[in-house]
Symmetry: C2
């Protein structure tokens, strides 16, 4: 693989199987898989099918064949977000995250020139999350972890989570914030999938805003953190936040750095399905902050992330930043 080939930072993994639940909590929503149609398995949670997924989720050779056809050189692997399971008891979350981290590390070991691994931590218990982050990065060799955009409803910009982000910054672990269990569910009118389609972008936007207004990004300039889905609605919130910071004393006093400066300390993927919307990401976050993300292999995925970028007719140097350099910097800066 060309060392400068395209890196897709937003791809997900589901293990083919899970160990039996060995915890002590009655009715813990521990996942399992059962066979479905050829090459597919149902992910079962609490006795119901959560999602039916294909072998693309766990089979490295299938993924690599898809990458070849997509023009993707490397994939960043992260768990299917629902598996982050912050709603479980902390010790169960630790057990599940530990297993996910081993599965992802094993996939990376199968094709280290193709895959970069992001693991999981039980963020419902900051101490345990830091412990598992340590193991994921220092023992299993993962580049960092994926976290949800909230922890059981608490915004990730809440000061209670600062010790976790401090550890990530200290250890140079990349953090991928993915929309999960979004706010605004009671405002949706339509099929259940609107959770992902309509509510996810607002949820990740609010997560980014809270990292700015809560001071996390101001305190930890070395934190390397990326938001899923192009930062969702954050780009649309920023001009208003910036205006409020300039004109409302109570906002200015509360925010140690201006909102736009905070936003530009983060990375975002380009999973916005639209050329002009990607251009807007470049304007808002800067062309050193935007990376390629596809949501592979789920049904909502962007099927041609490389082509979508090529169609923008960007400067070759800018294109190379988006295709490769920004991801490399986010994941691996010492």
């Amino acid at each position: 693989v060309d060392a400068h080939a395209l890196i897709d930072v937003h791809t997900h993994v589901v293990p083919a199987s899970f160990p039996a639940y060995l915890g002590r909590h009655f009715d813990a929503p521990w996942p399992s898989t059962v066979p479905a149609q050829a090459c597919h398995r149902h992910v079962m949670v609490s006795g119901k099918v959560y999602r039916t997924v294909s072998h693309q989720c766990w089979d490295c050779s299938v993924r690599i064949a898809d990458m070849e056809s997509q023009g993707v050189g490397r994939q960043v692997l992260s768990p299917m977000p629902e598996l982050l399971s912050t709603w479980m008891a902390p010790e169960d979350g630790l057990a599940l995250c530990g297993y996910l981290n081993e599965v992802i590390a094993a996939m990376v070991a199968e094709a280290p020139e193709r895959f970069i691994g992001l693991g999981a931590v039980p963020l419902q218990d900051v101490g345990l999350a830091i412990r598992e982050l340590d193991r994921a990065v220092h023992q299993l060799g993962l580049a960092g972890v994926e976290i949800g955009s909230n922890v059981n409803g608490t915004a990730i910009g809440d000061p209670s989570l600062l010790p976790f982000f401090e550890a990530a910054a200290d250890w140079g672990a990349a953090i991928f914030v993915h929309a999960l269990r979004p706010s605004g569910m009671d405002r949706l009118v339509g099929p259940p999938t609107l959770e992902q389609v309509v509510a996810f972008p607002g949820e990740i936007g609010l997560a980014g805003a809270a990292l700015i207004t809560g001071g996390t990004l101001a305190r930890l300039p070395g934190l390397r953190l990326a938001l899923s889905h192009g930062g969702g609605t954050l780009g649309a919130l920023l001009p208003r936040m910036q205006h409020a910071w300039q004109h409302l004393p109570q906002v200015r006093e509360a925010l140690p750095i201006e909102p736009l400066q905070g936003a530009r300390r983060m990375y975002v993927d380009d999973l916005v399905y639209d050329g002009p919307a990607i251009r807007r990401l470049l304007d808002v976050f800067g062309d050193d902050r935007v990376m390629v993300g596809s949501d592979y292999p789920f049904s909502i995925m962007d099927r041609d992330p490389a082509g979508r970028l090529s169609d923008l007719n960007l400067d070759e140097a800018v294109l190379q930043r988006l295709r490769h350099d920004n991801a490399e910097r986010w994941l691996f800066t010492a």
Copy 2:
């Protein structure tokens, strides 16, 4: 006033005083005002200061002087959104909305060449809301009404509200949807004003999305409806909604028209505080759908809405649409 002068569609009114509460509900959050510093009054709700406002909120001559200095020809008057009071008992809501409508009609009567009135309806009771809409439009001569983005947590795209929108479409009443009591409050980290700064855009974006996915806009092509705050985050949601409509059968089957087509049946104001963000509104909604809005006279207002548009160096014909024609069409098309 020049008949083609700039129309500011997003300005608010607070009456200088309210009648005493005459309802039968103990502890109803009925508003009142008490004197504050010179030219100001506190709006009191449930024994607390909700907001301290100036005579700009009720004094036509003060408003007209401000309009002269801003280059604004006409203002569309709508109630301070918190006064919409959908959380009150329906008969109390009807009484308060009726009073607001009379106050706003009286302000319009003072300077009809300067002011266009939007009233209020008790949307917590669809039957009463239709009754008051009838009175507001047909007896008081208002151009339409302002409504909140949700009714006590129910999205305004919910089918239960269709009869109200049908009446508005039948009577040619303009509807201004304003963010109110937003979702996502538990995701905010920072001062209380982040409700307006960070949560409002997501709330109005979800309201617009629900009007699309719930089918309201598909069923009522003649409905003339505008979203506050540039539609909030709706522009950021649309490419993802559009992608889902193209690729996910369950979304396509549920939506009678494609999301972008639904979006372009609405109008939006340009209250996004940023030239490139206004340009994005033009791309998303079309230059026949964007109007000037300032949030006058509240502290977060855009102080120079005319200048912000001029700075964009738009084509003169487009500029005239944004400054005047689109608002005229939204408000007054037969």
